[in-house]
């Protein structure tokens, strides 16, 4: 992307006019600027919870004359203990973003054109209301759907509730699955999966799991990694990272094992082979708590012994037999070994197989028997919440109190496949689709079917703070508030061994005509005569809904608002200064304390996971895998079992590819802490810092191994064109030894077509290269193992 100073300045001016669609009014009101310049400069602090990613870090906002000037971490929030990440830091840049939408807008031209007519809120809500009314009147409530970016907040429940009350089941949440989520769902049928406590392990093996640069909670895990890295010099804790690219997780591990993308499950089973051969496995767990390990023709043991000897594993994964042997022996002889799968392994065609194999490895090596390593998430004291699910046979989405292990999958696994499900006839033709908190046309989905699908829906309503890549396909865009202007409640972070609720409260009133999604949904529901979203008649806002949900929490007497961990000495000092340790006799006090402290948590960790109480652990077997392949065929239409019989072992022979030619590579997109799923791109600080480590600021780069670069006579800083069958992008080459020679690492999160001036047309999106394949077992879209070719571009 060539941007000269002049046209950058021009761009600033033009997008300032165009994006707003109205006039060049900046997000920050003029009055505020005046106040900041001439005000009395009174400093205040407000507690809230970060909404940049689903991690739920507590934040402490510094206000001068009631105007927020900086975001810090909330020192008493248990998940982040006062620290935040760069994305959290940059929150105000989102709040004050000059391109924020200020008024509801109706698309002017055809679908796919980004030109807008501003309309009033009344008009917009009226239009939606009318649409909904029409659907309800004609008994076509199932023609209404909601594609919702799940930020792990109460709003997801609320939106699900809204959809249900409208009489529809088409609630499509979207988010990245948690660590181990796919594998443990298949093995023990539990969602959410048991949590783990990194503190307790003495051998951490991460299969593509990058806890440091993405969900579930980068701050929590960076903190923990810091501690573990320091203590491992004394405790001998080993941390091994298996991935094609040495991400931050690899850099901070004690060892990095290069592997071909998509073949991690094979390595896990290869290790299982060695462990079984050595007879050094957790016999007690296997015997008491598992099924399908042995006995029967197609059991786990037979499959592993037949298909996964080290030399075969080497051929598929590229990991030398010696390494497989060593890893397996080290891992199985550790006291509390812990293998995690997620991150890059989530986004491959073998996502579920890999995670299941890793779960099997855990079971085999005694991880599940290690004391305190695995934890049982304790449900919040507010009763069960319906879980969005998809039925793998009918393809129907619904909200259920509990998922059926045989037929259901968590809905967010497959929500990127909506257009495919539609074309397979499994989804009704929608009349109205709402989209909130997610930008599907930027994500690694099959773009064309999505565009077509969205074009076919007559009423696409999008809630957005900035015009994004999806907006051109929306008919109505409603300005939504940012997390700094609204009420919400973040839920306990999956995979973490304790419970917390983070309160989001408006740091400032909504700016420039934006409205909180919760309140808009409430107004729409009330307009339809649906008042049951709030049980109490007195409540009128989404904040009241949060209050209602919290009442049982208060009544249960469990947990406490965040509090300072204090020493007696400090407590004495506090008393001297006239402070009190708090108590809350009434709900009002509890609510006030939550606002003051930023949230609620249950001190102490989750209890140890008990295997007696749960379903037996099912090992992956060939028979089961092949059965699942048939059962879930609908998740991956046009893929997999079409031509004759499936290969005897698809997982050995299929997806792990090698580069075919001297100038070809396997594309391995990755996420960075500054950008995660692409939201960071709208904020200048994160745009600049996204290339902090490779020192390529504002640009999208490609990481190549020095040996390959040398052979192609490319050098650091060259411009390269990366070409696949699907498209091509031009990237800035970074020659680093932290990628395997077979892959080309490209960061995800840049190359937006919209999303405000700082993101628009800056950098490139590797998704343009990907022909999205789908993991047939989970429905997860894959972005690994795309064959790409590299050409040099003359500057």
């Amino acid at each position: 992307m060539k941007i000269t100073r002049r046209n950058f300045l021009q761009m600033l001016g033009i997008t300032g006019v165009a994006a707003g669609g109205i006039s060049q009014v900046w997000a920050i009101p003029d009055k505020w600027i005046e106040k900041l310049q001439y005000g009395p400069r009174i400093e205040t602090w407000k507690m809230s919870t970060c909404g940049q990613c689903p991690a739920g870090c507590g934040i402490r906002v510094r206000l001068i004359d009631e105007i927020p000037v900086r975001i810090f971490g909330n020192p008493i929030a248990p998940v982040n203990s006062g620290f935040i990440c760069p994305m959290g830091e940059a929150g105000l840049e989102l709040l004050y973003h000059p391109d924020r939408i200020r008024q509801p807008m109706r698309r002017k031209g055809k679908k796919g054109e980004s030109s807008w007519v501003p309309i009033s809120w009344e008009e917009a809500l009226g239009q939606i209301s009318q649409g909904l009314k029409g659907l309800l009147k004609n008994q076509q409530a199932d023609r209404f759907g909601f594609f919702f970016g799940d930020r792990n907040t109460l709003l997801t429940h609320f939106a699900g509730d809204f959809v249900t009350r409208m009489g529809s089941t088409n609630f499509f949440p979207w988010r990245a699955p948690g660590i181990n989520e796919l594998g443990l769902w298949q093995a023990i049928g539990e969602y959410p999966p048991p949590s783990f406590d990194l503190d307790k392990t003495d051998y951490l093996l991460t299969f593509g799991t990058n806890l440091l640069e993405g969900p579930p909670s980068p701050v929590y895990f960076n903190r923990l990694y810091g501690k573990l890295k320091e203590s491992r010099t004394r405790t001998g804790l080993k941390m091994v990272h298996v991935d094609a690219r040495m991400s931050q997780a690899g850099k901070n591990a004690t060892e990095w094992v290069q592997i071909r993308p998509g073949s991690m499950g094979v390595l896990a089973l290869g290790m299982a082979y060695v462990i079984l051969r050595d007879k050094n496995f957790d016999e007690e767990f296997v015997a008491r708590f598992s099924v399908d390990f042995r006995g029967g023709k197609e059991d786990f043991q037979t499959m592993v012994a037949r298909d996964y000897p080290p030399d075969k594993v080497f051929a598929v994964t590229g990991v030398p037999p010696g390494t497989v042997l060593r890893l397996a022996r080290e891992f199985s002889s550790a006291k509390a070994p812990l293998a995690l799968s997620g991150g890059t392994s989530d986004r491959s065609e073998t996502a579920l197989f890999t995670q299941w194999a890793v779960a099997g490895l855990n079971a085999l090596s005694g991880s599940f028997s290690a004391k305190g390593l695995w934890r049982e998430p304790v449900p919040l004291p507010w009763g069960p919440t319906p879980i969005p699910s998809i039925n793998t046979r009918s393809g129907a989405f619904s909200l259920k109190p509990k998922l059926a292990p045989d037929t259901d999958l968590p809905a967010h696994w497959a929500s990127e496949e909506l257009p495919h499900l539609r074309s397979a006839g499994k989804l009704p033709d929608l009349e109205m689709l709402m989209i909130a908190q997610v930008d599907p046309l930027y994500l690694p989905v099959d773009q064309k079917p999505w565009q077509e699908w969205l074009s076919r829906i007559p009423q696409v309503v999008q809630f957005a703070t900035l015009i994004d890549d999806t907006s051109p396909y929306a008919d109505l865009v409603l300005p939504a508030t940012t997390y700094l202007e609204q009420w919400d409640m973040t839920l306990p972070v999956p995979n973490l061994p304790f419970s917390q609720l983070g309160l989001q409260q408006p740091i400032v009133p909504p700016l420039n005509g934006a409205r909180p999604i919760g309140d808009v949904l409430l107004a729409l529901a009330t307009g339809q005569g649906v008042t049951t979203l709030l049980s109490e008649k007195s409540g009128k806002s989404y904040a009241d809904y949060i209050g209602e949900r919290l009442k049982p929490v208060f009544a249960s007497g469990k947990g406490t608002p965040f509090f300072e961990a204090v020493s007696l000495k400090f407590l004495g000092e506090l008393r001297e200064r006239g402070w009190q340790v708090y108590s809350y006799p009434a709900f009002a006090d509890f609510w006030r304390l939550l606002q003051e402290k930023g949230g609620w948590w249950d001190p102490g960790e989750y209890p140890e996971a008990e295997w007696k109480k749960r379903k037996k652990f099912a090992f992956p077997t060939l028979a089961r895998l092949n059965a699942l392949l048939k059962e879930r065929a609908l998740l991956s239409p046009g893929q997999g079992t079409t031509k004759g019989e499936p290969p005897s072992n698809k997982w050995m022979e299929g997806p792990a590819r090698k580069p075919e030619a001297p100038d070809s590579f396997l594309l391995a997109p990755f996420t960075t802490l500054m950008n995660m799923t692409g939201e960071g791109a709208s904020q200048p600080l994160l745009r600049e810092l996204s290339g902090l480590i490779p020192r390529v600021y504002w640009q999208t780069w490609a990481e190549m191994h020095p040996k390959r670069a040398e052979r192609l006579s490319l050098k650091d800083g060259d411009l390269i064109r990366v070409v696949s069958g699907k498209g091509s992008v031009t990237l800035y080459l970074k020659v680093v030894p932290t990628v395997s020679p077979e892959i080309l690492g490209v960061p995800f999160g840049q190359g937006h077509k919209e999303s405000g001036r700082y993101a628009k047309n800056v950098g490139a999106n590797p998704v343009a290269l990907i022909d999205p394949l789908v993991d047939p077992l989970s429905g997860r879209a894959s972005w690994q193992s795309m064959q790409v070719r590299v050409e040099k571009v003359n500057k």
Binding site: F83, E89, R223, Y225, G226, Q248, K251, W256, V257, L685
Partner: protein
């Protein structure tokens, strides 16, 4: 009193939070992409990477790099107008209104920590106004660098004075130390034995960047040992 910083590389995960916190705390300008490509990105706190060995024995060392606040700073020696100087508490300070922009200090700094305002620093509309009010926004043509968040020291001193007590360890923390999730950055008075930095700076793992130059940096790194 001698303010100093200890960065434990065995703890540092290279997340870059210190860099982000520093940029916002000190109102460091974000230059536009074209400028950035030329190498004019302004980072008071930077993150450097060293690759050691080859796979499978490849180790990647990442380390945050603030200003070293040398006790014998090569930069202050050459400044023609005393726009950069070492104050009595050991902080190498910059006086922006004094700087003539000759960039001699930048050329003289062996750690390359200084940034220059090649153009008038620009912020997104609204962001400039809501920038940290405690730190002045720089003008075009002056050199800037990490100040150990000296504005926080001033505030902490005022606070301590108002409360009629001496400065305590936690009163003055730099933005990077305060925000480091891994707890790798510790800041304090190197001469005060009660401050954590004091024993840490005498750790056998303690090392300084380019120690042999005799600049006596007050940023001490604790080496990564595995």
């Amino acid at each position: 009193m001698k303010w100093g910083m200890v960065i434990d590389l065995q703890k540092c995960t290279g997340c870059g939070e210190c860099v982000a916190a520093c940029k916002l705390e000190n109102n460091v300008a974000i230059v536009e992409p074209k400028e950035s490509e030329m190498g004019r990105t302004m980072l008071w706190m930077d993150m450097l990477t060293v690759y050691e060995g080859e796979y499978p024995r490849l180790r990647v060392r990442q380390f945050p790099r603030p200003c070293m606040h040398c006790d014998h700073p090569p930069c202050t020696k050459v400044c023609p107008v005393r726009a950069t100087y070492r104050n009595e508490e050991g902080i190498v300070a910059q006086i922006y209104p004094q700087c003539i922009g000759c960039r001699y200090c930048m050329a003289a700094c062996p750690y390359t920590v200084k940034s220059f305002n090649w153009y008038k620093p620009e912020w997104a509309p609204g962001i400039r106004e809501t920038a940290n009010p405690d730190v002045s926004v720089r003008l075009v043509g002056v050199v800037e660098k990490c100040t150990f968040c000296v504005h926080r020291l001033q505030k902490a001193k005022e606070q301590a004075k108002a409360e009629g007590r001496n400065l305590r360890e936690g009163d003055f923390q730099t933005a990077c130390a305060e925000s480091c999730p891994a707890g790798a950055i510790v800041f304090g008075d190197l001469e005060n034995t009660n401050h954590r930095v004091n024993p840490l700076s005498r750790s056998p793992r303690a090392t300084r960047l380019l120690e042999d130059l005799g600049t006596e940096p007050k940023v001490i790194y604790l080496k990564e040992v595995d």
